[in-house]
Amino acid sequence: MVGKKSQSESDKRLDRLASSLLRTSAENEAEAERVASSPFLYTRISARISAERERREERENWLTLLGVMWRAVPGMALAAVFAFALFWSASPPGASARGGFSVEALLGTRDAGIGQIVFAETASLSNDEVLATILNEDEREASR
């Protein structure tokens, strides 16, 4: 009983001392006044606000860009699927049947066009014909 009472007294005394130390530690009014009266304090705060605003704007820009990209991903995927489907449907039936791609399908040479004619013309000239043409040209120039 006596021991408990003495413990309680000791605790109270230590609490008072702790409280006193706490108040002593917090007694900085003079320094606080000097800080509060600092002439450039608001200038520094203003600069800090500007820097923070810039940082936030930059972050916002990044987030906006990320948002746009995030929204664009499904659209781009859809476009890719659509293009692939179009390409697949445009390939010749024979190629589809074989389950592969042909050069003709890629170049579109099955369509009648200038390219096909040019290729056909080029293919019909033999080396002898080319040589004869060049020799004829030389003879013609010599006769002049």
Partner: protein, 214 residues
Amino acid sequence: MADNSEPVTLESPPPKPLAAAAGAEPPDAELVSRVVGAGDEAAFEQLFHRHRRRVTLIASRFFSQREQMEDIVQESFTKAYFALPDFNNEQDTSFAAWLARIAFNACYDELRRIKRRPESAISNVTEEEMVWLREQVGDDRRADDIESGAVARDLAAKLLSRLSPEDRLVLVMLDVEGMSVAEIAESNNWSISKVKVRAHRARAHLRSLLRRFL
């Protein structure tokens, strides 16, 4: 803790650039709406001049170095500036109380940051400080001479650095600021029972720290 719109000041009030035309100081709520609505920087400057002493005083409760106090003041006003749209003066909270809460949070964050890299340990307590402590326990009178005050301040800084940021925050709010448990709970978004438990533990921890030197 001051919870009306008039802050606790240490000296005469600041200059009144905006009030000249109206003849009276506009209330905080009006200045806040000017900043939020029209981006009026002058209104924010006036809010700063009106409340800077209260914020600095809060910073001085936790930190003794000038640079630390300045940093807390800058941080508090910067946070307040960007949080102004969230401030709703129609609630019970006044602007002063709202700003004080931001300042306490800034102090708490700084204490946590410092705690991660402790600079002062309990082993740094000098023989002179231990003698002073024993004298104080033996005598209930509080020593007020300058030398004793300096010893007490150093010792207090060393002892308090051993407390957790939460414990220190609660003890300063209770014993130095004289805030009620309910006010502390509201300020920190804690429950009342958490504040009570935290205060009890903080006192017990401080007692055990003091006992080591007796």
